[in-house]
Symmetry: C2
């Protein structure tokens, strides 16, 4: 097929392997937009406030989501936390929970309960490996504090103090720019210790991340968001609605992500990291919440980004095959997760048929969200 000439295409409904559906009113607003975006199955992030650290919380959360939109299938995750035990992991597996999400402390929204030292979780990871659960990594190292001294304390200083984090070493300070590359040795180390543990490096944002996932065995995959396929650093500088973590990086990084879609070999698949924030937290407040909201147009955004990739000469027209679209949008993610698509639903996409709303609202709800690329056109999704 000549991808950029196509105006209509039928595909299996998509699997979005990384969604933030929130809770309460926001979940009421956002969850019904999953199918609008062409998605029938989702893997749900556990970073509520407080985070989901027990099986009971997790199953109860799934019930609330099912009540909002019963036509979507929800795969669930626990938040990696010191209260987890190998026993809980085994029970979680029996209870139908899919995986565990790890957030390095402080690097992204609602991640202040997150992880710094992975070694303490090795018993958890070992149990997950045995139970064939999935470990989802937010692959960023926390930034070096701005107040950190430039040099390490002199060697004559007492060694009774807590060991300094790796970020304080003599190497370049960690910022939001190198936070992902600086995490990649941790990914390699985890993979080496737990070669059969299925690991997903979430929202890959650099060519270094793509290369590192490729260098691992088949138990390691990476998700790529829709918005990282089109945004670069210039786009979020000064634009709250393009600001997310990990931040969009250079044009070269973005182009590496586009190439990873068509040369995935099944290693990379869609996880939108769609992250709704109430309008007020994106505008009008002093600090801007990190997150781009892509749920209602998820599949359309991906097709649009691939078209731009072809037109800019980043990828060949012929590389965007139906197999690539079916794979990236669902088949490869489902295969890695061992997810059946029993309903086998299909969608028809029509190019330019959908105008992205300026703001997503719903009568009776006190929250509203601005979607990515508001006011532009994208592919319209119809369910067969």
């Amino acid at each position: 097929m000549e991808f950029t000439k196509i105006t209509e295409i039928e595909l299996p409904a998509a699997y979005d392997a990384h969604v933030h559906l929130r809770d309460g009113e926001m979940a009421q607003l956002v969850t019904p937009t999953i199918r609008q975006g062409g998605v029938s199955q989702v893997y749900v992030m556990p970073n509520l406030v407080p985070p989901i650290t027990t099986i009971e919380q997790c199953l109860s959360y799934r019930k609330r989501l099912q009540a909002v939109e019963p036509k979507v299938e929800y795969f669930m995750s626990l938040y990696l936390h010191e209260s987890l035990t190998p026993d809980i992991i085994r029970e979680a597996k029996k209870a139908g929970i899919t995986g565990v999400k790890s957030y390095p402390a402080g690097v992204t929204t609602n991640s202040s309960s997150g992880v710094l030292d992975y070694n303490v979780f090795y018993p958890i990871f070992a149990a997950m490996e045995e139970e064939n659960m999935v470990l989802n990594l937010h692959g960023e190292v926390p930034s070096t504090p701005s107040s950190a001294p430039l040099k390490s304390p002199s060697s004559s200083a007492s060694s009774d103090t807590a060991p300094s984090p790796p970020a304080a070493a003599a190497a370049a300070a960690i910022t939001i720019l190198n936070a992902e590359p600086a995490f990649l040795p941790t990914l390699l180390s985890l993979h080496q210790h737990f070669p059969n543990l299925r690991i997903v490096l979430e929202h890959c944002s650099t060519s270094a991340a793509i290369n590192t996932v490729r260098a691992c065995g088949p138990s390691v995959s990476g998700t790529i968001t829709a918005h990282h396929l089109s945004l670069i650093i210039d786009d979020w500088a000064g634009d709250p609605f393009h600001f997310c973590k990990p931040v969009a990086k250079t044009p070269e990084d973005r182009d590496a992500l586009i190439r990873a879609v068509v040369a995935s070999d099944g290693r990379f698949f869609l996880g939108t990291d769609s992250a709704p924030h109430d309008g007020g937290k994106k505008r009008g407040e002093d600090k801007i919440a990190a997150g781009v909201f892509t749920q209602p147009y998820a599949v359309g955004y991906v097709l649009d980004a691939l078209e731009v990739g072809v037109k800019r000469g980043v990828i060949e027209e012929a590389s965007v095959t139906k197999e690539v679209l079916e794979g990236f949008l669902g088949k490869w993610g489902r295969k890695f997760y061992g997810i059946e698509d029993e309903k086998n639903e299909r969608i028809v996409l029509r190019k330019g048929g959908e105008e992205i709303v300026g703001i997503l609202t719903k009568g009776g709800l006190g929250v509203q969200v601005v979607p990515y690329r508001r006011g532009e056109k994208t592919w319209k999704v119809e369910w067969k």
Copy 2:
């Protein structure tokens, strides 16, 4: 002196070699804060809307500023523009105008009338060199458009089309991160063609900029802002009030700027680039205006940043001498500009004596500005 122990210090009033005072109500609000910040003389940027491209506009603008605050001395600049001629340069010199500011098109606020191709301005620069005027460079290359094709058009394509800009070449795409380093060859080229033309590389934000200024002859200097002495990329990601152009870069770049203050050899001096924007353009709107507002606390911010630099081990305590403070805050800039400080006013600074207001307002004015580090404490300025 032991700089971090000092709680009171007397200095000559400062020269701020890069200020945005705007016009109308904003000028009414901002201009009276110059002396509050410890500054008696300022070099005023011409990027009004429309920009100041004629001698008449320039002198009229100075009169309006003098009417607002007669106790400040205003040195004036023209906006580099195709309407300028060598004759106008000679007349401008006679009229007491100090220099010409060059903005690469589109890189910063109100710079859409700016410059792309410097060669066409060589006759202007030659006249400026003869007249001993100052050329002020906003040293950034415009970013590569996001839609730019990855590869150059094939060589068989017609050559009738306009030549592609240098940014479209095979090298890394230009983003706000490498825009300043990518400009530095232009600085070197201008200096080579006009070795006696006094050039200021404004708001240096990278160690590369510092090194390049040093590599030039004594006719080239650099200004450094107060806020670039403390901000890094993590600070402006998600914070409208820390977002400016050039963007704050890595911790290593910031630390190079701090070192340049104490090891200036007269080559680097204060130009705050204080850039007031009405609160509404920093909050509540979709796109955030670039600029950090530092005018009312200019000298205090610099002292604070140097103190942090000492405490973090970036610079030695002993390197922050009275000569460095007097030089960076006024003497070196005045010397480069050939500016007399006839009134010879002096200020006394008291550490922690001033609380930075949350928002700057004034009765009867319909604009308001949020200053840098609102709510924190800094040095209080008293005029002797």
